[in-house]
């Protein structure tokens, strides 16, 4: 996963609001990940159009946070999900 990749959830992986736990979860084949606040914010950004770089820039502006930190966290999460085959990266 690199900054210019466009990350997206592949077919069979979706975000779901669990009304019992009152949390968002990421559901995929044989997987259910309960999302923490940061993962939630990042995954809500995936629209299949914006690259990791653009997403991080937007987040840095929205949360007035340092872009380096946001980029590190975002790449770590997305790479982990990609290795679990819960995320795909398109290189435009």
């Amino acid at each position: 996963m690199i900054g210019s990749n466009v990350p997206l959830l592949p077919r069979g992986v979706r975000l779901h609001y669990d009304k019992v736990r009152e949390k968002n979860v990421l559901l995929g084949p044989e997987r259910a990940l309960i999302l923490d606040d940061i993962s939630n914010i990042i995954l809500a950004q995936l629209d299949g159009e914006r690259s990791v770089d653009v997403i991080c820039k937007d987040l840095a502006e929205t949360y007035t946070a340092p872009i380096d930190q946001i980029t590190t966290d975002t790449l770590a999460l997305l790479t982990d999900l990609a290795n679990k085959r819960l995320l795909e990266a398109r290189s435009d």
Binding site: P10, R11, G12, V13, R14, H16, D18, K19, V20, R21, V25, L27, G28, P29, E30, A32, A82, N83, K84, R85
Partner: protein, 350 residues
């Protein structure tokens, strides 16, 4: 939650995880009851439903059941041999939002696969279905059940998964419960095979990183510590039989001291929280001293209750796979038991 919709199946695998006492078609829950159970499951906090069997495609209402599960808010996974899933059925399942398909694999050649499944022509049909699954675009997991006759084919099995475009491979070594217990001598892999399989899995995981996820269920008899059965009895999973009995795990009926509640009599929530079978081994109070005081208490949860029952005749004993268990000698004795070239004892057809 595992929903065993039916015990009807065209295959007759000698390691089938269904119980020896199979349920007839006429005793299966109807569409309406399953649909209610799916809603109750979602309300209870269940996130994923595994539609299994037998062969779930043998249920005429399979598409309706997927609709009901999706309407309830559940992630839907179809666990199938592929037999009975024609093009028309697959496009219907696609339309109603089936999330994922797990396709079983009995072997990588027609000769072996059809011999294991007891169904001539099954492998060819399965490969055809796999192509259709890929054409629709369903995410696919290949579930390869492994034993002495096919464990050496593991590299070729993973290569087949690559060719079929699978995202995941489950390499599941046979567990000796139910039908498999009657075929132990025929199916038990050797220690060398298990070692080679572990090395293959390590190499292939590295090679296929980001492309295919490999889950490996190693034969626990060769391990030092037991498997954490169901992540802890009555903690994260439940199983519903074709007739509606609610089990803490799919093999729980092998424990004779337990009786099970039925979804036609009680709500799923009441069963989950109050039923004696769910509370029998829930938490840590039931454990023998050995497990209570063990640093792995909350890792293994005492291991598999059905294995303790099968090997030691005591469902509340420490899993005899554990090196700390006095029962380990019984597992070692079984491992040294005779290899059998007798014909398989096939699962009977309903």
């Amino acid at each position: 939650m595992l929903a065993e919709l039916t015990h009807v199946c065209p295959l007759a695998c000698p390691y089938c995880s269904n119980p020896l006492d199979l349920t007839k078609r006429s005793a299966e829950l109807d569409t309406e009851t399953w649909s209610r159970v799916f809603r109750e499951a979602a309300d209870l906090g269940v996130l994923q439903i595994h539609l299994s069997g037998g062969e779930p495609a043998s249920r005429r209402d399979l598409v309706e059941l997927v609709v009901a599960a999706r309407d309830a808010g559940l992630y839907t996974n179809l666990i199938t041999s592929g037999i009975g899933l024609n093009e028309d059925k697959l496009s219907q399942l696609d339309e109603v939002g089936l999330d994922h398909i797990q396709l079983s694999l009995q072997g990588i050649t027609a000769e072996l696969a059809d011999r294991i499944g007891g169904y001539k022509g099954g492998f060819e049909r399965k490969m055809h279905v796999a192509e259709r699954i890929a054409a629709v675009g369903f995410p696919l997991t290949l579930n390869a059940v492994m034993h002495r006759h096919n464990l050496d084919d593991l590299p070729a099995t993973i290569a087949l998964a690559e060719r079929l475009g699978a995202r995941r491979v489950e390499v599941a070594c046979v567990q000796f419960h139910g039908w498999a217990e009657a075929n132990r001598g025929q199916l038990q892999p050797t220690a060398d095979q298990v070692r080679a399989a572990k090395a293959t899995v390590d190499d292939e995981r590295e090679r296929l990183k980001g492309q295919i996820v490999i889950d490996f269920v190693a034969p626990d008899w060769f391990a030092d510590f037991p498997k954490a059965c169901m992540g802890g009895w009555g903690s994260t999973g439940l199983n519903i039989t074709p007739a509606g009995d609610v089990l803490p795990c799919h093999a729980a009926e092998s424990i004779p001291s337990l009786t099970f509640a039925n979804v036609t009599d009680q709500s799923l929530a009441k069963i989950w929280y109050e039923d004696a079978a769910f509370n029998a081994f829930r938490g840590t109070d039931w454990m023998p001293e050995l497990c209570q005081t063990c640093e792995r208490r909350d890792i293994d949860f005492g291991g598999c209750r059905c294995q303790a029952m099968a090997v030691l005749g005591d469902a509340s004993a420490t899993d005899p796979v554990c090196r700390k268990s006095p029962g380990r000698v019984a597992v070692d004795a079984l491992l040294e038991g005779p290899v059998s070239d007798e014909p398989f004892v096939y699962r009977v057809r309903v």
